[in-house]
Structures are given as structure tokens and as C-alpha cells.
């Protein structure tokens, strides 16, 4: 195959891959019909009595149910409210936290009242010009859990004095930050709970004493829970069990003397009545007498019904049911409320929409019986609750919202991509045209792809995918050691790589099964900060040593040293200052005076200084050095670029992960040794295929070692605003990708650099073959993930395991493969090409 043909095939494969991935995503991610417009009351519902006219809505981020209800809780005052009957306690099942909060906001805004908001600034970003008074706090520095809450608390007392608002929204982030930082069992947790409890006490006392707050309902909710590692976004019981309380002195008449506090859980993290988090919206609407938002899928919580008289109870539930009926009609185009013909209802097996229609008809029938005095009000309530429960269940699953046609098109496009990439690998560079020979040459890759594909069909293997990479990489580098020994060496280089793989896999505990288990970072480095900082400095010193010899050598030793030192000192200063703001207790005493020197410099300018120094060095390397021929051919532009890249990637890593960059650098040196000829004229020990596979393995090992996983909760957003003022979507997007794909980017571009000795004197054949191989890998694995998502679309874990995996697959194949490996890789190869001219 001619080079142009192979490039064309690779391009076609990637095009087909990207288009297929996107088309599948459009069909796969839930399309929920959205009813436009504001909701209104029907004439009957209009007259229902409103028990409350104001609301204090307090969100405590990541408030897991047991934090409030359990024996170990420090919410002492809140527990006294629960036992006295002034509070209704619930555990809210938070399956889709992203839906609930916008809906509450929509309701509060739609009602036309005056809103006041303090706390998490995403509210203000999403709803600009909604609040008449506001102050946002950012969740940028997860380590700050004092200021972030004080900035909210100082507004509470003054607001309680005022009587101009209808809703006061408070969103506290501190408790979530404590979780992210040190987990739910951290020493900071109980003091934080006591602090929150004090605020609750202040507000509740206000409700009791201030006359204008007499008809105020005080709602306390966690937007989600927390897992044992302190993260969230997954599907474990801890993450989906949030606390939810409705408080008011008025409730004492309706709670039959209160609820047990502290309480015993009836299931893991489940206390008191379990409700859906979405139920909060219609419940609050009923209590405040607002129309229920049109797209609501929650149910009015039945515990509150005794507040109203019999007629109003039915009215509240009818309003809720009618509104959900509209959502069902929008979701199931074939749904028709039944008329007189109820013959379908007697069938044993029914489609869910027919079942719903029957339940609705039954409820209406019982209501008319009740209106004629032939049934009790409890019968009507029972039927209406049955209907809303069923409707909620059906809408939650809403399998009909998949677009199977688009999903099938996506799968077909990926099959095309697979075929194209197989052709480009089998008939590409270095192939003899014999399929069997090429296959035999690539058995390890074939095995790896097969195993990875099989794994994508099991939820626990998706959650524990890192194990595949650690497991295969260990064996691969063991075999490499044997290979090295066969060539007459001791095998030390491979053993060092193997040892470093072993160390890096324990650096950050990832996956779900052992989430939160101690690892090198939490169990050692953060406790021995001196050692950690020595390792961090060693990483930068190594880069300094590398750059000192190489960067802008053309202009002599002095400029080279100045530039290298500038880059490294800028990068180190930024990292230290970031750590000071992020976690000052992680800085040992001897380092503090040095860090304090830069106290006045803003992080943004420090980051910009580091980026600028790196950019200048990169520019010089690419454009100035390129014009100079190096007779010894020892200088390779891509090598310098890779050293600069390592410094940049360290900037984009959390400070405790910086030593891993040193680990990668050493592994890289060892692999580089194995990829170069022992003596001139001899072939390197590792063939291009072996270099390609080593790089592929290490890309994944590094991804997981840095704390990556297939779960959204492991995304690291702490470095996405480095050097950015304001909010530039493109730059923040790029930084988000880079700070989460540090390892893969290091190793994919490293893989290109490692190939340079095979490229000597040849065209770009080995590079093409490498890209063809990587394309083949992500194309086939991508199709396996797609097939798995397609097959498991009714699976219980579809939204918590399979779809996050799909999002990761999209990032791997679109951003990492197409943009990074192929796009940016071209720059690297361009640098190499010159060196051999």
C-alpha cells in the first residue's frame, strides 16, 4: 500500500469513527420531551389552601442521610427538631442530581416571587438576573472549606430580619469540600456538621420568633450523597442517599409526636421514609401553593397530606397527577387516556402505557364515586398515589427515549471504521501482504483488544478497568525483560519499568470496589509532606537537567541554562503557590517561608508565566532550532518537545501526582534505551510494533495511576482554570482534557518520540503504522462499548456505569486519538523529520 493510500484509509477510519460515536451519542443520551411554557392551576386547584407563603431553601452539598440522622451525627439541634416533631425527615434517592436543582429554581422563578441567593455560584451562572440579592461562592479551591461557607453564613442573619423576599436560597459547599479532601470520616467532618447545625438553629429560631417568618417552611436538602472516598456521581448507596428535611413549628400538629432521632438505618444509608429527590418539587409547590412545574416527574410526598382538609388533599394529588399525565403524553406519543372502553385493562400482561391509562381511569372513577359519597377519601388518595407512583417509575426508565435508529447507524459506522482500520493495519508499512504473518506479528495487540472488548460487557470490569492494564502491562514488561536477557543484557531496564508500574498503580486508588482504600498519596505522601516535596522537586530537577542540555542549544550554554532555569522556576513557583492555596497543611514547615515569598503574586499570573516560558521554549525549538542542521544528529526536536511537555503536564497535575511525572520520565528513558540500537548498525531491541504496544499500555496505566477511572466522579477539575481569567470555554475545555489525560498524552507523544530511530532514513512509514494501530485499537474497543451500551440500555446501571464509560470512550477516541495522537502528533513528527534531513 502506498503511503498516501494508508493516510487516506486512516483518515476515513477516523472520520467514520468520530461521526459514528457522535451519532450514537445523540440516540443514546436521553431525549426527554420538554414541555415549554409556565405551568398554571386549573380552576379547582386554585382554591386549595396554602399552608406556607415563604421558603428558606438550604442546600448542603453532599449531605448524606447518615450525616444528619445517624448516631454519629453532629446535627444535634436538627435531631432535636426531628424528635420533637417540628421536622419531617426523609432520605431522598438522588439518582439524577442534575435534574432536580434546575427544576426547583425554575419553579421558584416561575412563581414570580422575589428571590435571594447565597452560595454556589452555578445557580447565579445558570440563572443570571433572577435574584434580587445574591453572592456567589466558587468551588474552585476544593480545599477551602471555611471561607466558602462563611461567605454564605454572614448574610443569613440580616436576611432573616428582612421581609421582602419570598424565597431565600442558601447553598453550602464546605461539607462537600471536606469530603473531597479527606473523605466522610475525616476529622473535619464533625466540626463542619456542628457548624451547619448552628446555622439551622439560627434559621429555625428566626422562624419561631420573627412574626413575618411565621408562614415560612424551611427545607434542608443534600443535592447528593458521598461515597467512602468522599466523591460522588456514581451509583453506590452512599452517593444516592441524600438527607432531606422540611422544618416548621407548624408541623408539630401533624407528626404524631415526632420521629426517632438518632435513627437506625433500614438499609445502607437509608433512614426514615425513602422518597425520590424529584418529589421535593411538587411537595414544595403544594406547600407554597405554586403550580407544579410542567416537566416535573416527582410526587407530592404523602406524609404532608394531613395538613390539608379532605377536599384539598384530593385536589393536591389530582393536580400532581394531571401534570404527570401531560409528561406521559409527551413521552409516549401513543398514550391515550382511556374512555369508556376498559376491556384492555383486564388483560394479564399489559404494555406499561396501557397499564398507566387503566390506573388513571380507575382513579377518576373512584373520585367520582367519592364525590357521590360512595367511596371514602382514602380510597381516592390510594388510587391517585398508585397512579403517580407507577407514572414516576415508567418515566424514570423511559426506555422509549432511546433513538434506536441513530444508535444502529452509529454501530454500523463503527463496524465500517473497524473494517477500514483492519485493512490499513494489515496492508500497511512493513506488512508482507500476508494476513497470517501480520496477525502473528501482532498477537499481543490482538489479545489485548479482545480482552478489553470482553470486559466492556461487565459492569464490574468497567468499574475496575485499571486492573486489565496493570495486569497486562506487568506481563508485557516481564516478557520484555526476558527479551532483554536473550539479547545478552541483564534485563535491568525492563525490570525498572516493571517496578515503576507496580509503584504507580498504588499511587492513587481508583475504581469502585476498593474506593477510598489507602494508597500512596493518602496513606503516605500527605502524611510525610517533606518526602512528597522532595519527590516533587526531584521531578522538576530532572526536567531542568534534561532541558539544560537541550533547549535552544544553538545559542550556546548560557542562554540554554537561563531559559531552562526560567521555565522550571516558573513552574515550581506556580505549583507551590497553588498548593498553598489548595492545601496549606500539605506544605512542610521548612518550605513555608519560601512559599510565602510569592504570596503577593496571583495564581493566574504565575500560571501564565510558566506557560509563557514553556511556549517561548517550544517556539524556539520548533522554528529557530529547526533551521540549524545538527551534524551529530543527537538533537531531536521531538525529544526537546517531549521534555517541555512533561513540565507542562506536571503543571496540569495535582501536586501529589507530580512525582508520577518523574516515574513516567524514568520509564521513558528505559524504554528509549530499549528502542535504540546497542551498537551502530544493529537493530533496536524493540520493534516498531512493540514500541507501539508499550506506549498503548503505558498510556492506560498512566491514566489510571493518576487517579483516572470510568466514573465521572474521578474527573479532576482543580487545574482547569490555570492561567485563565474569566471563563473561556475553549481554553477551559482544553485544560480539562489535558489535566485529566496527563498520562495518556505523555505516553502517546512519547510513543512517537520512541519511534524516531526506526524512522531514520525512511519516510513516515513507522509512524503511519503506529497511528493505524492506535486507530484500530480505539475503533474496535469503541464499537464494543457501543454494543454494550446498546445491549444494556434497559440495565439498572445504564446511567451510572455504561453511559459514563461511553463519555470516556468519546473522549479517548475523539480528543485523545483524533485530536491528540493524530493532530498534535503531526507536529512531533514534523520535528523529527527535519532531524534526519
Amino acid at each position: 500500500m502506498r503511503p498516501k493510500q494508508q493516510w487516506l484509509l486512516i483518515a476515513a477510519t477516523n472520520l467514520s469513527l468520530i461521526v459514528g460515536i457522535f451519532i450514537f451519542a445523540v440516540g443514546f443520551f436521553p431525549y426527554k420531551p420538554f414541555l415549554p411554557g409556565l405551568s398554571v392551576f386549573s380552576e379547582e386547584s386554585e382554591s386549595v389552601a396554602a399552608p406556607f407563603n415563604k421558603v428558606v431553601f438550604m442546600v448542603i452539598d453532599a449531605l448524606r442521610a447518615d450525616f444528619v440522622y445517624s448516631e454519629a451525627s453532629n446535627f444535634k439541634f436538627t435531631q432535636s427538631l426531628i424528635s420533637s416533631g417540628a421536622a419531617f425527615p426523609f432520605t431522598a434517592h438522588a439518582n439524577a442530581p442534575t435534574i432536580t436543582m434546575p427544576r426547583i429554581k425554575a419553579m421558584l422563578t416561575g412563581a414570580g416571587g422575589k428571590l435571594v441567593m447565597y452560595g454556589d455560584d452555578t445557580w447565579i451562572k445558570l440563572l443570571p438576573e433572577t435574584f434580587c440579592r445574591q453572592e456567589g461562592t466558587t468551588s474552585f479551591f476544593v480545599a477551602d472549606f471555611v471561607e466558602v461557607d462563611n461567605n454564605v453564613t454572614r448574610h443569613v442573619a440580616p436576611e432573616l430580619e428582612k421581609d421582602d423576599w419570598d424565597a431565600l436560597v442558601l447553598h453550602y459547599l464546605g461539607l462537600d469540600h471536606v469530603g473531597h479532601k479527606a473523605g466522610p470520616k475525616s476529622a473535619f467532618m464533625l466540626p463542619k456538621q456542628a457548624e451547619m447545625d448552628g446555622i439551622i438553629q439560627g434559621i429555625y429560631t428566626g422562624l419561631e420568633t420573627q412574626p413575618h417568618l411565621r408562614d415560612t417552611v424551611f427545607v434542608l436538602v443534600g443535592d447528593h450523597g458521598m461515597n467512602d472516598a468522599g466523591g460522588h456521581g456514581g451509583s453506590t448507596a452512599g452517593e444516592t442517599s441524600a438527607a432531606m428535611l422540611f422544618m416548621s413549628p407548624k408541623f408539630k400538629n401533624y407528626t404524631n409526636g415526632g420521629f426517632p432521632a438518632p435513627a437506625e438505618p433500614h438499609a445502607e444509608f437509608r433512614f426514615h421514609t425513602l422518597v425520590e429527590q424529584t418529589d421535593i418539587t411538587p411537595t414544595l409547590a403544594a406547600l407554597l401553593h405554586f403550580p407544579i412545574p410542567q416537566n416535573n416527574v416527582g410526587r407530592v410526598i404523602s406524609s404532608f397530606l394531613p395538613i390539608w382538609d379532605e377536599k384539598d388533599r384530593v385536589q393536591v394529588l389530582i393536580h400532581n397527577a394531571q401534570q404527570m399525565l401531560q409528561v406521559i403524553i409527551a413521552t409516549f406519543p401513543h398514550f391515550e387516556p382511556l374512555g369508556a372502553d376498559k376491556s384492555l385493562c383486564s388483560a394479564k400482561i399489559q404494555k406499561e402505557e396501557i397499564q398507566l391509562a387503566c390506573m388513571w381511569a380507575k382513579a377518576l372513577e373512584v373520585r367520582s364515586l367519592w364525590q357521590r359519597g360512595l367511596a371514602t377519601v382514602d380510597n381516592v388518595i390510594e388510587e391517585l398515589l398508585k397512579f403517580t407512583k407507577e407514572a414516576q417509575g415508567v418515566l424514570a426508565m423511559a426506555a422509549s427515549s432511546y433513538n434506536l435508529t441513530l444508535m444502529t447507524i452509529g454501530v454500523v459506522l463503527l463496524v465500517v471504521a473497524n473494517a477500514l482500520s483492519l485493512i490499513s493495519v494489515f496492508f500497511g508499512e512493513g506488512s508482507t501482504g500476508s494476513i497470517i504473518y501480520t496477525f502473528a506479528n501482532n498477537i499481543p495487540v490482538a489479545l489485548l483488544i479482545t480482552l478489553n472488548c470482553i470486559m466492556m460487557f461487565s459492569t464490574s470490569f468497567i468499574e475496575e478497568e485499571h486492573n486489565l492494564w496493570y495486569w497486562t502491562a506487568s506481563a508485557w514488561f516481564f516478557v520484555m525483560m526476558l527479551k532483554e536477557r536473550r539479547s545478552g543484557e541483564m534485563g535491568i531496564s525492563s525490570l525498572i519499568i516493571l517496578l515503576l508500574v507496580r509503584i504507580s498503580r498504588r499511587w492513587n486508588q481508583t475504581g469502585v470496589k476498593h474506593q477510598g482504600a489507602p494508597d500512596i498519596v493518602t496513606g503516605f505522601l500527605l502524611k510525610h509532606t517533606t518526602i512528597m516535596w522532595i519527590l516533587i522537586f526531584a521531578t522538576y530537577l530532572y526536567s531542568l537537567w534534561r532541558l539544560n542540555k537541550r533547549v535552544c542549544r544553538r545559542w550556546g550554554k548560557a542562554p540554554s541554562a537561563i531559559l531552562a532555569n526560567t521555565i522550571i522556576s516558573a513552574a515550581v513557583t506556580f505549583k507551590m503557590s497553588f498548593a498553598r492555596q489548595d492545601a496549606i497543611e500539605a506544605i512542610p514547615w521548612w518550605l513555608l517561608p519560601i512559599v510565602r515569598l510569592f504570596e503577593s503574586a496571583s495564581l493566574i499570573s504565575l500560571a501564565r508565566a510558566a506557560f509563557m516560558a514553556l511556549g517561548i521554549a517550544m517556539g524556539i525549538t520548533l522554528f529557530a532550532e529547526r533551521t540549524k542542521k545538527d551534524p551529530k544528529r543527537t538533537l531531536r526536536i521531538s525529544v526537546v518537545l517531549h521534555d517541555l511537555l512533561a513540565v507542562f503536564l506536571a503543571t496540569q497535575s495535582r501536586f501529589w501526582n507530580v512525582p508520577l511525572i518523574l516515574v513516567f520520565n524514568i520509564q521513558f528513558r528505559m524504554l528509549d534505551k530499549l528502542s535504540s540500537p546497542v551498537s551502530p548498525g544493529k537493530k533496536p531491541l524493540l520493534s516498531p510494533q512493540e514500541i507501539t504496544l508499550s506506549s498503548l499500555l503505558l498510556q492506560h496505566v498512566a491514566f489510571f495511576a493518576l487517579g483516572g477511572s470510568n466514573n465521572i466522579s474521578s474527573l479532576d477539575l482543580s487545574n482547569v482554570l490555570n492561567g485563565v481569567s474569566g471563563f473561556n470555554v475553549v481554553i477551559v475545555g482544553i485544560l480539562t482534557f489535558l489535566s485529566n489525560w496527563v498520562g495518556p498524552v505523555f505516553w502517546s507523544l512519547g510513543g512517537i518520540v520512541l519511534l524516531r530511530r526506526w524512522a531514520d532514513g525512511e519516510a513516515d512509514g513507522v509512524y503511519r503504522q503506529q497511528i493505524a494501530m492506535w486507530t484500530l485499537f480505539w475503533s474496535i474497543v469503541g464499537s464494543a462499548v457501543m454494543a454494550s451500551c446498546y445491549m444494556h440500555r434497559a440495565h439498572l446501571f445504564i446511567w451510572t456505569v455504561f453511559s459514563p464509560k461511553y463519555i470516556y470512550t468519546m473522549t479517548w477516541s475523539v480528543l485523545h486519538l483524533a485530536v491528540m495522537n493524530i493532530g498534535v502528533g503531526a507536529l512531533w513528527r514534523w520535528g523529527n523529520k527535519w532531524a534526519v534531513e
Partner: protein
């Protein structure tokens, strides 16, 4: 490299060919008989099962393996791959127990010290827990080196040339070496079920990798005898 003695009956009166076939079956039977108690309490079971394992391996070495093979192999013997080599008349006689005592003791000593240490290191490198379960890991390493290293030491003694070949996997895959390679691959494959969410008690360390090692040992041994005998590993 053939290491087995002839089919001529030895002290037991049974042919070595029969015994060498029985050997992996006896190993597996004794392993699986102990398996429930291994799952229940790994360290104590691993200790108590060392005795039958050692006895089986010694018996196998004495009755089926020719400990002098290495001295003559390169010069004299060009027998068919994986085949049997007639034992020389003056070589260690199977009839005299005393002649076996020294090689067996040395092999056992090296297995229990050096090779257990090396296997433990290898287990750590491949991901064995480093801060906990130390007794589990060391005992598992003892079992694995009794399977893998003991017959190799018995056959090859301290021939440094041979050991350098073994350490780069260039010796031919006869039944002894193939069994060792099989056990290593088996132990590696045994790690697969550990991360699954089945919550089975046997998923605990080191039950799965030991099971893999024993099964791999048996499979490797039969492969060495019948399939890959005499060939060298290519990679």
C-alpha cells in the same frame, strides 16, 4: 531436554512413565481437597499443605527425574524432543535412597530460601499486596517455588549455563520447564477473578492465583510431554 528415567521399574516397582502422569493428578487432587480450608483460612492451610506438596514433589523428583541429566546432556544425548532418555548404568541408581538425599536437600534448601524470596519479589512486582497479607504472599510464593523451582533445581543442579538459559526462558520446553512456565502463566491468569463483584469468599488473596498456578502446572506439564516438547519459546 529429557530428564526422565527409563520406563524400567524402580523402587516402587511402578514405571516412571505411569508415575509422571499420575504426579499432576495427585497434586491437583491434594490441592482441591484442601481448597475449602484454604479459602477459610489461607495462612494455616498453606503451612499445613506444604508437607504433602513437598512429599509429592520429592517423590516425583526421585522416581521420575534424572538428576544427573545436565552433566551429560550437551555431549551425549541427542534424543528426540521431549522423549525419554535411557539412564546410564552408573548414574545415580534409583534403588539407593542415600544417593538422593544430598540433591534433594540442596534443592529443598534453595527452593525454600532463594527461590521463595525471588517468587515473593515477583508476586510483589505483579501486584501482590505490599503492606498487608505478608504471610499469605510468602506462603503462596513457597508453594509456587516448590512447584516451579524445585524440579528445575533437582534436574539442573547448579549449572550456571543452564540457569542463565532458564532465566531468559531459552531452555527447551520439556515436561519440567513447560510445567514451570505453565504454572507462571496460570498464576498470572489466576488474578483475573479478583476484581469481579461476585463477593465469593474464594476471590480472596491468594486463592485464585494458587489455583491458577496448580492448574497451569498440570496443563504445562502435559503440554511439555505431548505438545510442545523440546521446542523453545519464541518471542
Amino acid at each position: 531436554m529429557p530428564h526422565r528415567t527409563t520406563s524400567k521399574p524402580n523402587i516402587t516397582g511402578l514405571s516412571p512413565t505411569l508415575l509422571t502422569h499420575l504426579h499432576p493428578l495427585v497434586l491437583l487432587t491434594s490441592y482441591f481437597l484442601q481448597f475449602p480450608s484454604l479459602v477459610a483460612s489461607p495462612p494455616s492451610t498453606l503451612i499445613s499443605s506444604l508437607f504433602p506438596l513437598t512429599a509429592i514433589q520429592i517423590t516425583y523428583a526421585v522416581l521420575c527425574l534424572d538428576s544427573t541429566a545436565h552433566s551429560a546432556s550437551s555431549t551425549e544425548m541427542k534424543s528426540k524432543p521431549g522423549g525419554l532418555r535411557p539412564k546410564k548404568a552408573d548414574s545415580a541408581s534409583s534403588g539407593r535412597v542415600a544417593d538422593h538425599i544430598l540433591p534433594i536437600s540442596i534443592s529443598l534448601l534453595l527452593t525454600a530460601t532463594l527461590f521463595t524470596f525471588l517468587t515473593t519479589l515477583l508476586l510483589f512486582l505483579f501486584g501482590a499486596p505490599f503492606t498487608t497479607h505478608h504471610s499469605h504472599t510468602v506462603l503462596a510464593a513457597t508453594h509456587i517455588s516448590l512447584l516451579i523451582a524445585f524440579p528445575l533445581i533437582y534436574v539442573h543442579r547448579l549449572d550456571s549455563q543452564k540457569w542463565s538459559e532458564i532465566s531468559s526462558f531459552t531452555v527447551p520446553l520439556d515436561e519440567v520447564f513447560a510445567a514451570s512456565v505453565g504454572a507462571m502463566i496460570g498464576a498470572w491468569c489466576g488474578a483475573v477473578p479478583i476484581p469481579l463483584d461476585w463477593d465469593e469468599p474464594w476471590q480472596k488473596w491468594p486463592c485464585t492465583i494458587l489455583t491458577g498456578a496448580y492448574l497451569g502446572y498440570a496443563v504445562g506439564k502435559f503440554m511439555g510431554m505431548y505438545v510442545v516438547g523440546g521446542k523453545k519459546l519464541v518471542f
